[in-house]
Amino acid sequence: MVLTGFSSGGAALGTAFLASVVEVVEAFTIILAVGTVQGWRPAVAGGLAGLLVLALVVLAFGPMLQLVPIHALQLAVGVLLLLFGMRWLRKAILRSAGVVPRRDELAAFAGQAADLITEASRKNTRLDWLAGVATFKAVVLEGLEVVFIVIAVGAARGLLWPASLGALAACALVLAIGLILQRPLARVPENSLKFGVGVMLSAFGVFWTGEGLGVAWPGHDLALVAFAALFLLVGLLAVPSVARIEAGASQ
């Protein structure tokens, strides 16, 4: 039992950490673009305002989770995790196979900077304000995904602490590296991370949904490993098959 508790705690921590790395890298690219174009004051102000909104969301909805019966919570969180995780996995498979272009942090950085300048000239608005709004939106939107992942992998079995720890560690790591390098973190293997996290979130999704429906999985928490292996296998088999179709299409 100690072993299975440790394994699910480790899985929650690892999944939240890797998922948060992906999201924080994306938010950091936008903050960096804004900071480079318009200076750090509006970039940091918008980012802090976004963090405040996220904190309010957590404070408002967090206690409500305690009121939801555990099976209903597992079912709701499980279905949302399935939708969220398989969306990530699908995108990662299609990117690995070359059907969808991979995310390019350098291009995202350049695009964000260009958008900011174009928008300011078009609307004749103060650039400081637009810069702040851009970082605010980035932090809120990417942060909401992090909050969802932490709650989803943590809330249904009292694993909120390891999941939160994983997310906080990811934020600290990405921001520390980003502040040292002062450029987009283009070398982070975003698609591989998305693939792995998609596998884990989908596995958590099947596990929680099943528990919510009253399924007692054989091996208890270790069933998570079996589901992760299944999704990983399907994903790894899908990539070369889709790549072959893609190669046929481009000839």
Partner: protein, 72 residues
């Protein structure tokens, strides 16, 4: 208001990117729930249906995306 609309669309987009995959996932969950209700004494059948249904929905969704790309 346009920002709120963007936020709403983004939040929905967190969960549903491809309608086929979203629908397939929901159908797999509904099939498992129905199976659980009908075969109450054998919950593992519902669990297996859930896992296989999700894997099938994912595989078909990826194949559809590749086929759509091939058709151009």
């Amino acid at each position: 208001m346009s920002w709120l609309d963007t936020l709403r669309r983004q939040v929905i987009g967190f969960f549903v990117d491809d309608a086929f995959l979203g629908l397939g996932t929901v159908l797999a969950v509904l099939a498992a729930a129905l199976c659980r209700a009908l075969l109450g004494g054998r919950p593992l059948v519902a669990g297996a249906l859930l896992a296989c249904g999700c894997l099938l929905a994912l595989t078909l969704s990826v194949a559809r995306a590749a086929a759509a790309r091939r058709r151009g």
